[in-house]
Every structure is written in C-alpha cells, then in structure tokens.
C-alpha cells in the first residue's frame, strides 16, 4: 500500500506540548530507545554524520577557512549542495555559480518540506527548525515509518543527530585534513546505500509501489549522466507524483464520501 503514516483515531500526541505543557508526556530514554524509528534515526545519523569528515577536509583543501567551512555546514546543511559549492569554488568558479549549483541541488529539499509539513504539521518555531533539518536522511527516516508518532521521532532523531554529528565531523575533517583518510575506505558510502535501501524496502510490498520504484529507478539512471547532480531525484519525484495522481484505485463511492466530513482530512487516505 502506498500510504503515509496513519494518525491514530484520537491523535493523542497532537495535543502534547501545545496548550498544556504540564500534562505533556515526556518519554524517558529507555522508552525512546525502544522506538524503532529512533534507532533507525541514530544509525542514519552516525553513518551520515561521519561523512562530514570528507566535507571538512575537502573544503579546507578548496581554500576555505575553518570558519567558512563550519558556516557552510551550519547554515546550508545539505551535503550535496555543500560539496557542489566548494567544488565550484575549488575549480575557480564565481560565487554566483557556486551559489547556483548549491541552490539547484537543494531544490528537492523544497519538495521534502512540502511533504513533511503535511505529514508532521510542525507549528511556530518548530516549523523553522524542521525546515533547517530537512535533508534526504531525515525525510527518508520519517516517511519510512507507518505511524505518525514514529514518523515524528524518526524525523527529529535523524535530523538533530545528523545536524550535530555532521557539524562536529566537519570541524574534525577541516582540522585534520586528509590525515583521517577516505571514509569510503571504511565502507561508509556502502552504509549510506544500505540505509536508503533499508528505508525503501518496507514500502515495496504492493505491486503498484514496485512499479513506481522501477519507473523511478530507470528515470534516475537515465537522468544522472544528462542532468546536474540533484536533478535526477527531482525528475524521479515528478514521475512518481504523476503516476500516483493517475492511478486511481477502485474505491467504493461511499468510502470516498465518508472522508469528506472528516474535520481533519486524515493521513490515512492511502490505507
């Protein structure tokens, strides 16, 4: 089934932390660590965060100062865009072309933001915090969950975890330079591959999802040599959205009518 995490009927967590902070249930660490989404988020954070070493080292080698390197990881916080930015700078490109390359690569984060806003509905300052933490890994962790609470835990764990470790290891890489070696040597790029496959896997149960995955894989492979990095993912996103919009499943009319009076149009539409 192509479904977003479903909201439990009473949405117990929707009130938490809003009107009645005194009654908010704060799960303790044991409870949190028992959450599959938190554990997935932590593994993703370690695998991705360590990659900050290569960014830091490469950025320093490109001629950026320690402060400039740290600023990129703190402010831009999107691995692909950061590598693109320093790549253009190292190649002698202008600041404008470095910014454009990074911005193009970061466009998918806008699509992610739309999806996460719908899924997690953050409010107030949390919206801005969630926006800054919106990257491939946090989105993948959140959307791979089948319950809303788990999706939230997964997003914040992966987002904050990657943010902290990515910035720490950026500094480590910038200070140590090439001395720590290539993370690929330790198979860290293989860890990233496995993490994304592991997040995709549970979503491939239906034939429809399988068909969409195959179509998107083909589009991505075809687009990689033709388009700038980052754009193939956008192409796949467009293809997936179009396929999702077109394939209208046979649905009894009363089931569709039932949804309309729902005061909070649910996330359970695909269920």
């Amino acid at each position: 089934m192509l479904s977003f995490p479903t909201i439990p009927p009473d949405r117990p967590e929707s009130k938490a932390g809003c009107e009645k902070p005194g009654r908010t249930h704060y799960p303790d660490s044991v409870e949190l660590l028992a959450s599959p989404a938190v554990r997935v988020g932590l593994s993703v954070a370690v695998a991705t965060g360590l990659y900050g070493i290569s960014f830091g080292a490469l950025s320093a080698a490109s001629g950026l100062s320690l402060a400039q390197t740290a600023a990129l990881s703190l402010l831009m916080f999107s691995g692909g865009s950061q590598f693109a930015f320093i790549g253009v700078v190292a190649g002698g490109g202008s600041g404008l072309s470095a910014l454009s390359a990074a911005a193009l690569l970061g466009l998918r984060n806008g699509v992610y933001g739309m999806q996460l806003n719908f899924l997690l509905r953050p409010r107030g300052w949390r919206k801005a915090a969630a926006a800054q933490l919106t990257i491939d890994e946090s989105v993948a962790t959140a959307t791979a969950q089948s319950e809303l609470l788990e999706a939230k835990r997964g997003f914040w764990t992966a987002g904050i975890g990657v943010f902290v470790l990515w910035n720490v290891f950026t500094l480590v890489g910038a200070l140590l330079g090439g001395a720590v070696g290539d993370p690929r040597q330790w198979g860290l790029d293989g860890a990233a591959v496995a993490a994304f496959l592991g997040l995709l896997w549970p979503r491939l149960r239906s034939r429809e999802a399988g068909a969409i995955a195959v179509a998107c894989a083909v589009v991505t492979v075809v687009a990689v040599p033709l388009a700038p990095p980052g754009v193939p993912i956008l192409c796949a996103a467009v293809v997936a959205a179009v396929l999702g919009l077109r394939r209208t499943p046979p649905r009894p009319p009363e089931a569709a009518a039932d949804r309309r009076p729902d005061p909070q149009p649910g996330l359970n539409g695909g269920a």
């Binding site: 977003f4 831009m76 992610y112 040597q185």
Partner: protein
C-alpha cells in the same frame, strides 16, 4: 570577504528553499488523490536516492563497491535483519569489496 557573502547568501537560499515547502498549506494536500500522489512520491524519492547513492558519482554512472553494499543490504533485508544490521552489512560489504580490489 567576497566569498563570505556568497557563503551567507547560499546558506540563506538553502534555508529559504526548505522553508518554502513548509509554507505550502497542508490542506492543499489533504484529499485522497493528493495523498496517493504523496505516497507515490515517497517511494519515488527513496528509490531515486538509493539508485543515486549506489551507482552515481557526480554526473557519471560508476559501478563500484557500492553495488556489493546494495546486494548485501538486500540479502539482509530479505532475511528480515534489523535496520542497524542492514547498514552494517552494507558498510562491511563495501569495505570488503574495496579490499578485494574493486574501485
């Protein structure tokens, strides 16, 4: 100094792009048809991310040790291994494949 201003501008553009997505009203996506599209989008994005991290290097398709990582992860997933084991299997397979001489 000039580079600094481009770094700050690029950081702002990155954040603004992310935030723009959050400013799309959620209710626009709240009908069953859009939900199906969003579900499909998730599958499409995860698939594309998996493919990109497995076979691409910049704008070039590079078959290398990461394919071994994908295969090992698939086997682990097939055996219903926990997520952490899947990630570790991917890392070990890539590291082993490189030691065996793959790029």
């Amino acid at each position: 100094m000039v580079l600094w201003s481009w770094i700050l501008a690029a950081g702002f553009v990155s954040f603004a792009t992310k935030l723009a997505g959050y400013l799309v009203p959620a209710r626009i996506l709240g009908n069953p048809r859009m939900l199906r599209a969003a579900g499909a989008l998730t599958v499409g994005l995860l698939t594309s991310l998996t493919v990109v991290t497995t076979v691409s290097s910049g704008s070039v398709l590079v078959p290398d040790a990461r394919l071994a990582a994908a295969a090992a992860a698939a086997v682990a997933l097939w055996l219903r291994a926990p997520f952490l084991v899947v990630v570790a299997a991917g890392a070990l397979a890539a590291a082993a494949a490189r030691m065996a001489g793959l790029p």
